[in-house]
Each structure stands twice: as C-alpha cells, then as structure tokens.
Amino acid sequence: MKIYVPMDSAATALGADEVAKALAREIAARGLDAQIIRNGTRGMIWLEPLVEIDRGDGRMGYGPVTPADVPAILDGSAQSLGPVEEIPFFANQTRLTFARCGVIDPLDLDDYAAHGGLAGLTRAIAMSSAEIVQEVADSGLRGRGGAGFPTGIKWKTVAEADADQKYIVCNADEGDSGTFADRMIMEGDPFTLIEGMAIAGLGVGATRGYVYLRSEYPDAIRVMRAAVKIARQRGVLGADVLGSGRAFDMEIRQGAGAYVCGEETSLLNSLEGKRGVVRAKPPLPALEGFLGRPTVVNNVISLATVPVIFEKGAQHYADFGLGRSRGTVTLQIAGNVKHGGLYETAFGLTLGEVVNGIGGGTATGRPVKAVQVGGPLGAYMPVSKFDTPVGYEEFDKNGGLIGHAGLVVFDDSADMLQMARFAMEFCAVESCGKCTPCRIGAVRGVETIDRIAAGDPGAADLLTDLCETMKDGSLCALGGFTPFPVMSALTQFPDDFVCQKEAAE
C-alpha cells in the first residue's frame, strides 16, 4: 500500500505534517506494509491535506484530513473522494507544465524520469542551438511572469550575442499576492525547472544559471537546493550534461524580502549583491544582464514549461490556446473563493467561468464583488467584466492584465477605497526609490485617497492625475502599474469613493 501525503507548504500549513506523523504511528502500531510518500500538491487546496491511498487499484483521495481521521482511513471506513484524478476540478484540466506535480515524489529523479522527465532535455541535446531556440519560438510560449514577452525572441537575442560567458537566470521572486504556481512547482516538481534551465543553457550557449528565490518561500528553497544537488550527482547538471559533452550548472540564491526584485533588472542588481534598484532599459538584460553578460531572465513557469514543449513537440503545445496566447495558463484561484487552487488549462475560458464555475463562487457564500487579476499591480475586475476571456490581448482590451495569472476573489464586504489605498501603501513600502513618481507619488497617493475618504471633492481628479504621472513616469511596473488597481477601483466601484460630505447631504 502506498500512501501519499503532500509536503507542499499549502498542505503543511493546513496540517499535513501532523497527518503524516499520525499515519506513520498508526501504520507501525498495526504492523501494516505501507509506504508514505511525501508528494507535491495536486493544487486542490480546499481539499488539503489531501491524502491519497493506492491499494493497487489507483489513487483514492481523502480530504481535508485531520490526524483524527487516520484510523478510519486505514480501516477503509472513511468517506473517500474517489479516484483523485476523477475529481472534476482536476479531471477538467489540461496539465502540461504541472503534469507531474502532486503525482511524484518531488526529489525522486527516477520517478521523474518514469513520468516523462528528462525526455525533453535528451531531445534538446541532439538539436543545434538554433533548432532549440526555434522550437521554443514555434511553441508560442510567452513569459508567464506577467509581461507575456515571447520567450523564443528573448532566447534568440541571447543566443546571437557574442560573449565569453552567458547566464540563465530564473525569476522565482513570486511576490504577487494571489500567485503560488512558482512555489507549487518548485516544491512539487523541482526537476522540471532544472531541466528547463538546462535546455535554455544549451539553446543560448549559457553554462551557468541562477534561481533567484524569495526568502518568503523557505520550503521551496530547501527542495530546490536538494534537487540541484541530486541533479548534479546524477549528471543532469555539471560539466557533461547527460553525457552530451556540454556543461550547465546552477545555484539557488535567496532573496531578501524586497518585492521590487521580481522586476528583472532589480533582480539582476540584487543577484550581483547590490541594492535592488531598477535599471533603465536599454541595455536589455538579454545583451547586458547579470554581471554585464548576455542573460536570459525567465519566470519559473516559463522555464518549467520548456521540458514538456521538447518532450511533446512545439506544435503539441501551440495547439492549445486562444489567438496569440498559445498553450496553457496556470490559473491560481485564490482569496475569498470556495474551491481555491491551481488550475492549468488552455487560454480562453472567461473570467466568470473561472471564478464562478471552477472556483465555485466565494468561500463566505456572499456575492462576488471584484476579482483582482495579476497581483497587486493588476486591475480589480467587476462582475460586469466576467465575460472577458483569459488571454493577454483580451484582458488588455478590458483594462486589465493577466500578469502571473493569479486571481484574488473578494466578496461584497470588500471596501474598494481601502483596497486602492492599500495598493498605494504597498507601492510606497516597496518602491526601490529610483523614480520620483513611484517613490513620492505612492506616498502622495495614500494621502490623496485619505482626502477622498474624508470628503475632499477635488481629490479624485488629483488622484487620476497622479496615476497618469506614475504610469508615464516610472521605469518599471511597480510605479507604472500601481495605477491599475487604484484606477480600476475608482472607476469600476465609484460608490465606495463617495465622500462622506456627499453621503451626508
């Protein structure tokens, strides 16, 4: 009998370690022949801790499990969720990037290979650098970190740059609220990121890579470091990648709690040991990146998707999607939602289908008021925009952005003026200080919203003006995109901004 208990931090945050301990005790007490495997999460967070038991007839799910449920589960008398992969939330997904997450033991390289792992890297080794870059371009993969820049073009720029040393830098500074896909894959299937980075290295001629991983993710850091060590021991990384005669090695670097370091140029400064201040572009990091060398900077999900593109072929990946948004999007459904978790699917579902259909509406049972899509710099989408399809261009047309595809659902108790104020406050706390509109504008933004709240009739126009200045005058997305949540709150939820004086009249 095999028993799976996730070690993903969302599961452990809900008591998975205690459940695993209780299982181990009970198994020993009963003298059962059972093995406990700590897998990643399947992404159905509302069912965590989700225990799966394989008695030889498939993996049956139980959840959410508490230590008190353990005896009944082992007796076979507990109510089961049935075969885990037949739960509709899971069954209806198209799992490409996350195919192995929650299925395998994250640190078992043989298990990884048995589930299609390393097939992509093996295929890439037989290809030329130009062919590797072309394959990524043909897949239509776009940067999953938020900007949606075509990955193939970025790789081509680095591949064609002439330098004695090039780098692959993975942006694992997943600081946006509502996003956890990076954390989930690093904790649940770390080898896929390593394999993706190795393929990138072969493609552009880089022999060294770094994962810049935020310090708020201690579990992911631990798993990634262990995985890199194993990959090195087993010849996936090192001087002779899988016997190809070509070198690629990598290191995990810990961030230090600065949100702005998720912006690629401040990330590079931070990695170099400097203040995480934004750099002006050009020069592009692709030409002058880490230590001034040509550098691919890609998000975790972008790089973790590369192996499946090489395993199944660019066309297989490109066949999914909508318009210029090819492949799958890893939706992270979060906040006040009944069925929260990670849902990988082809681009094209509408926002309403995601929130109400897949997410099941709010956790509190109250009506949905707003959904913030794309993190703290993303717009608050009202219910009236629920027919917007999930696609880069489609969201752009509706005044929003997909970003890293995190969705935070709010019920009708949310005060949108307070949410707008928080966006400005967050920008003020996290601004790197380089651009005046961001550094000072965010502070003035908090004050201006307080003036609206206090009943100043002219303050709303001033806020609009300030947001335009921040948008046009900031180098990076922190100052440039903070106006998205602020202005969307102001324009879509005007009732929350009705000043006290007016309300009193």
């Binding site: 945050a13 997943e174 609220s177 509502g178 230590l291 459904i333 995190g406």
Partner: protein, 158 residues
C-alpha cells in the same frame, strides 16, 4: 536571540563570510549567512564586508538597509510574520492582524515586553488559496482564525 547579543569579533565575522567569497555576487549570501548565525547583521560586519569585497562602507550599509530581511537589532525568541497582502485581506486578514497585535500589545515590527515574540508584516507567503496565512519561525500556517492564532500565540509564550 536577545541572549546572544554579544557582538562578534572581526575574526568571527570573517570566518562566517570568507567561505562565500568565491561566489558571483557574494554580498547577499554573506548577509544571509551572518543573519542566520547571529540573528541580525552585526554592526562590525560593515567594515569587514567592505574590505573583503572592495566596496565603500556606505555601499554595504546601503545594501543592508535596502532589504526588509536584514536587521540591525535582535528579535524576540520567536518571529511571527503575518501576511498583509490582498488574498489574506479578502479572508479577513486585516481584522485578524489587528486583533493579534492588540492582544500582544505591540505594533508591526514590535517585540512583546517579555521578549517572547516579534511580529512582522509579510507580503505574501504563496498561501493565497488557504488565507489568511502566517509564518511562525519558518513554519507556515494557513486558514487562520482567532482560535488558531490563539493556539500559536500560546505556543510561543509558553
């Protein structure tokens, strides 16, 4: 960590950071190593790092002060980081944080009078589908309410 606040010597600091000197971009790993060892960045570290990395003292100080993680003062025996980001707010995180701070009689970044716990704000632990969330000394906790938070606090004050 208050009890090991005695300032380390220059030699001790060198011993912690020198093994990392061969890294590309070694300053952040060095600062993390120092904080892991001493619970803070010792004052005496600035000249040592400046000397070792051929940087100005002001530059080193600038890096230390830029990042939220690095501190120049000790914390309580435990550190409780409560998430303040949007997903946690959507599940009542603000009220829970306010109640917790009130119960402990501290503000953000404050340490309780008995030195048991320091409360820090954190912006997202990636536990957005099981909000509100917090982290106690590196251990994550999700789906918090006043009752579960009370149990955590009892643990640290015991």
């Amino acid at each position: 960590m208050l009890d090991r606040a005695q300032a380390p010597s220059t030699e001790e600091i060198r011993e912690v950071v020198t093994p990392l000197a061969g890294l590309e971009g070694p300053l952040l790993p060095m600062l993390h190593a120092l904080q892991d060892t001493y619970g803070l960045i010792p004052e005496g570290a600035v000249p040592v790092l400046a000397d070792l990395l051929n940087l100005g003292r002001a530059e080193v100080h600038g890096v230390i002060s830029f990042y939220h993680d690095f501190r120049d003062h000790p914390t309580g025996r435990h550190v409780l980081k409560i998430c303040r980001a949007e997903a946690c707010q959507s599940m009542g995180g603000n009220a829970l944080a306010a109640a917790t701070l009130k119960k402990l009689g501290v503000d953000w970044h404050g340490t309780t009078a008995d030195g048991a716990v320091t409360v820090e704000p954190i912006y997202c632990l990636g536990l957005c589908a099981c909000a509100p969330a917090a982290m106690l000394d590196g251990r994550v906790v999700g789906r918090l309410d006043e009752d579960r938070m009370g149990k955590l606090l009892a643990e640290v004050r015991a």
